[in-house]
């Protein structure tokens, strides 16, 4: 067991390294660098950056050096927990990302919890009452949830909120709490704003999980041991919940790894539509401004979150399903 986890862990570190190279390479891809886009930005505002200033900026940010030197420097900083300076914001990257990262995690976890609290009971219900009206409704909603891209769903909800309730349902905070320091009232305000983004982000996942749960449970319910349990006089609830549901839960564990990164990366577009203060809009801006360190850090962080999610799901799966034996050697 420990050996397995160790091997997985080494693999995860390797993956993170590969992601760091890849994200650095991608950010280097655009022609020009931050200084070029800075000059263009200044020109648009009517001021001119002299060649000397540009050269100084390049030296300051080390942009003139070969790419592998830049990568090496970046790595050295990273290992020491220093993510560099955001060129656009002229502040340390950690400071710029700071709260946004936590809000991203909060939104993602809320979506994940919503997915499970909805998907589990609905999936069980649709399997136990197969072909009932409830099952059809669940299947229908499931398909809609899968087919509608979540940013379109966000758009439709915003529109409905605007026309029906004349309220802006976007954002994570009411205006009076936007810049307020953290307090109980602000947390409550956040909790009140969470359901809509959580629903938008979680719907596709919920739809998928309902289908998985339904299919798995249907397979289990046809097995002889269920008949045996029933014939021995166990109550219906016990017959279903005690064993079949437990077996059918396995795939849930194996999808934790996929769901979390899926939600985090899906939240980028949804955040833009709903105006959520998560890392999504920040990433978009930094990519366009070629703010290398900021964009690189965000992509890397999202990658690390994904790898951690996958790692967790691998370990959880081994723990809850004794049939999976570690026969990799």
């Amino acid at each position: 067991m420990l050996g397995y986890i160790g091997r997985r862990f080494l693999l995860a570190i390797f993956t993170v390294w590969a992601i760091s190279v890849l994200s650095f390479a991608i950010i280097q891809l655009p022609p020009g660098d931050y200084v070029t886009s800075y000059i263009a930005q200044m020109a648009a505002m009517g001021s001119v950056v002299t060649d000397e200033e540009a050269a100084n900026l390049r030296i300051q940010y080390g942009l003139g050096q070969p790419i592998y030197v830049q990568y090496w420097k970046w790595m050295k900083l990273m290992v020491r927990g220093n993510f560099g300076m955001s060129m656009e914001w002229r502040r340390p990257v950690t400071e710029v990302i700071g709260e946004r990262l936590w809000l991203t995690v909060v939104v993602s976890v809320a979506a994940l919890l919503l997915t499970w609290t909805l998907a589990l009971p609905i999936g069980i219900y649709s399997a136990v009452r197969q072909y009932s009206p409830g099952d059809y409704i669940a299947t229908f909603i499931g398909f809609i949830g899968l087919a509608v891209p979540n940013f379109l769903l966000a758009l439709v909800l915003l529109y409905l909120g605007f026309t029906l309730f004349n309220a802006n349902i976007g954002g994570l905070f009411s205006t009076e709490f936007q810049d307020a320091p953290w307090s109980l009232a602000k947390t409550w305000d956040l909790a009140k704003h969470l359901p809509i983004p959580a629903l938008v982000l979680g719907l596709a996942g919920t739809a998928q999980q309902i289908r998985i749960m339904r299919a798995n449970l249907l397979d289990e319910l046809r097995k002889p041991y269920v008949v045996t349990a029933r014939s021995k006089g166990l109550s219906e609830a016990r017959v279903i919940l005690k064993y079949p549901v437990r077996v059918a839960l396995n795939p849930f564990a194996s999808t934790i790894g996929y769901t979390l990164p899926y939600i985090v990366s899906g939240s980028i577009i949804v955040s833009l539509v709903l105006g959520l203060p998560t890392v999504g809009p920040l990433l978009l801006k930094s990519l366009i401004a070629q703010d290398m360190f900021l964009a690189g850090t965000i992509v890397l962080m999202l990658g690390v979150m994904t790898v951690i999610g996958t790692l967790i799901s691998d370990i959880v799966l081994v723990c809850i399903d004794p049939r999976i034996r570690l026969d990799e050697s």
Binding site: P30, F143, A147, L155, Y159, L284, A295, G303, V307
Partner: protein, 388 residues
Amino acid sequence: MSTPDIALEPATAPLREGPAEAEAETQRLFVASQWQLMWWRFRKHRVAVVSGLVVIGFYLMALGADFLAYADPDASEAQRSLMPPQPIHWFDGGRFRPHVYAVKGARDPQTFKRVYRADPDDRIPIRFFAQGFPYRFLGVLPSTRHVIGVDRGLDAAKTIFLLGTDVQGRDLWSRLMYGTRISLTIGLIGVTVSLVLGVVLGGLSGFYGGVMDTLIQRVIEILRSIPTIPLWMGLAAALPRDWSILQIYFAITIIISLLGWTELARVVRGRFLSLREEDFVVSARLVGCSEMRTIFVHMVPSFMSHIIAATTLALPAMVISETALSFLGLGLRPPAISWGVLLQHAQNVQTVAISPWLMIPAVPVIVAVMAFNFLGDGLRDAADPYGR
């Protein structure tokens, strides 16, 4: 191919009346080819069949976009900015004479917004196969005919806007037709590129195994563990701003398919692994078939159907990716027209609340994605006609 040993019930199975007919039915099953069995099985999946028709309809729409559009998609007109859709009135005094009411625009003196009022007395008749802007049908035949149009006569202001207009006064219906063409072909080309990558790499991985397999599997694992949207955004943001529409179009296609091939490669590899030890493959090898022949004559045909199903299921993701990227302003950019570009106008809630028809381009996105999903589901079920 061996004969099926499981009596499949084809959709057309008549009521079993006598043993003779049942016998004939079984006979029919035994002599049916694999593709026939698949077709019978697919036909039973009603939703999938309907979805298939919808998908065909979408591609016909893409082919005939110029014919179905009745206005030049780029012709803007400030006087007709944000005009609401004009409903068609099919009958006029009990006779079939489709027409729309003429719309008069004026500026509201208080809000300075343009307001439009339909005038029921001024009717604009709709003509079928009317003359319109010139185009080349299928890129070859020069034509000026469009499916509908209006008789302009002397009054050049007489036009129709079935789905209203955008901020620049361009006809939304016509733009939607052209958008369909670009959005759907991007998916098609993207899926083709992923297919080639997926089959070649998945095939190498599954057929040879060993170091090659480990290497390719690692690459897939790493690609899959990178969150896709940031990666797409990064790659798309790297496209030079001064590229032409065509260059951007192909670049976006390649970006989308670069990450799309992993799933297909996984399917192909799995198939190769399970087939490698099958009797017919071993015997093909034993009689001295070359590797190429073994792969392409003996192995590939037997999992062709699975690949088709996986490809269909990969398409909606491509359509959504293009839409999302263009929506963010990282994908196709105006003057190119795609569903995502059209939806850019719907980004702002205030705009949408005032002119909700700007959200109409979301409808084909949703319908197309659902149709592809159902079709792919049906194909996947049908892909293995001998299984249960």
